[in-house]
Amino acid sequence: MPSIEILGLEKTYQVGFWRKRPKQALRPLHLQVEDGEIFGFLGPNGAGKTTTLKLLMGLIFPTSGSARILGREWTDPAVKAQIGFLPEQPYFYDYLTAHELLEYYGQLSGVPGKHRRHRIEQVLHQVGLRDVQGVHLRKFSKGMLQRVGIAQAILHDPKLVFFDEPMSGLDPMGRREVRDLMEQLKREGKTVFFSTHILSDAEALCDRVAIIHKGEVLRAGAVDDLTSSVRGKVEVIWQGAQIPASIKALGAECHVTADKVRAILDEKHQDAVIDALRRERLRLVSVTPVRTSLETYFVEKLRHAETTAGSMAGGV
């Protein structure tokens, strides 16, 4: 059973004060997120990521379409007891301490009283917030607030967690900890749906991703499938600073760094390069197929979408 099935959710706002005009924030969105996977929802700022999450959380209402979460209608209150949500740049009641805030959210989520205290300590430890007893949230840094946000999202041990830009405001150490936490959630059998525009995070974590741009999903699939589509190049590294003429002739793109040469060339020339290195008695260090990074794929996809939209507008 999929954890999330989005069935044509669409959102159009009426903008303008006197003369209202429609502005489509999300085109009919169809998406399926499988149980137990980490799903990345990628897109530039203003692409419709937060709108989608707000729709799924019931914070805004769709113009049309529906969704099913954990097998139930997404508006069913029972669903909300089983999901956790971290909004983008979260802001909390700053007159409370982290413990009081989590106590309040625990009550709202129906965490039984006797487990609550223990659970609060557990999640605060999990997100790396220690020694914050008695400190009001108004004294927390942005990164600490983000950690509190993650803690409140997992406090009630939800089956499905939605994170909107979870790495925002975190230092490299904090980002690493959040990555580890997401992997841990996956190991516990939970489904994680997170939006981000930091593609290295998505590439490192996600089983599948969807790329959204201007309210429309451009592509969805496994990270490997998306990045493998532009394969066909190899990276060859050898010791020394010498670049044989025969390798240059193959059209290799070479970079010399300290005592190594790094060449990128077509996969079909791989054997010829190795032969040339043998002839020249140069020590081969590695031969690696070049995978297009998710970032490259993402940028190309977005450029293509912009070009298509531009040419269509020009045609009209």
């Binding site: 959380m57 914070l59 805004i60 209150p77 029972a78 949500f85 909004p87 009641y93 309040y104 709202l108």
Partner: protein
């Protein structure tokens, strides 16, 4: 599913206390003790009358100001600061949020009124050196003031559910002022003719009838309050607050939280 109302109400109360709302009690205590000392020196035989009038009017005004200024921000501030996102993404229904906020504010005002009432009785004891049976009538006035707060809280919440804090404050305060003169409005409606009569009658019944809750002067003169008025005011306040809250819920249920 358990109700979230008590948790939301207690958090609202805690917010008011930590935002130092109850500090108004200090201003109230200063005002009342100053007045008691002053009237004790200058007035002859009317000290008690002045203290009851001044004390209860201050209780009412302080409370109304708090009800409006907290009430107008209860929903809009949560939307603006996006604290609502992590509340409504839990098993909390929107109507529970509104009702919880209402009870939280009403609770804050009741506690505030309790402390102010102690101040009123203390000032009264200071000027008259003893309590008499008729002083118990002050409890009726305080009860009416609390009923008045329920209406003001619900109206502030209603305006807060669709309008900006500034406009909500203007609407709520205007309604409080007009409602305080609703007896005059009803008299005017009775005397008017034609369309004006219809309009004035409609307005008179639409605005909250706060003049019916003001028994301060008669209590200061030790005149008893009819049981029927207590019952009428109770039912009226509960009905009016319920209607305004229903309106707030209805608007909030369908509102996009952008």
């Amino acid at each position: 599913m358990k109700s979230s109302i008590p948790h939301i109400a207690s958090n609202t109360f805690r917010e008011a206390v930590r935002d130092r709302v109850l500090y108004n009690l200090i201003a109230f205590a200063l005002l009342l003790s100053g007045a008691a000392i002053l009237v004790g020196q200058i007035s002859i035989e009317i000290e008690k009358l002045v203290v009851i009038n001044l004390g209860l009017t201050a209780v009412s005004l302080f409370g109304v100001v708090i009800a409006i200024f907290i009430g107008i921000g209860l929903v809009s501030k949560e939307i603006e600061k996006r604290t609502l996102y992590t509340v409504l993404s839990r098993p909390v229904r929107r109507w529970e949020f509104i009702v919880g906020k209402f009870f939280g504010l009403a609770g804050t005002l009741t506690v505030n009124t309790f402390f102010m009432a102690i101040g009123v009785f203390a000032a009264l004891f200071y000027v008259s050196h003893r309590f008499v049976r008729a002083d118990a009538l002050i409890f009726v006035a305080l009860y009416f003031i609390i009923l008045e707060f329920l209406i003001v809280c619900s109206l502030s919440l209603l305006f807060s559910s669709f309008s900006s804090p500034l406009l909500s404050a203007v609407f709520a305060f205007s309604l409080f002022v007009i409602g305080s003169f609703s007896a005059d409005l009803r008299n005017f409606a009775a005397m008017a003719h034609g369309v004006s009569r219809w309009l004035a009658t409609g307005a008179a019944y639409l605005v909250p009838n706060f003049s019916a809750f003001n028994v301060i002067t008669s209590i200061a003169h030790e005149q008893p309050v009819a049981g029927q008025l207590i019952l009428q005011n109770t039912l009226y306040a509960l009905f009016y607050a319920a209607m305004a809250l229903s309106g707030a819920v209805l608007i909030f249920e369908y509102r996009d939280l952008k």
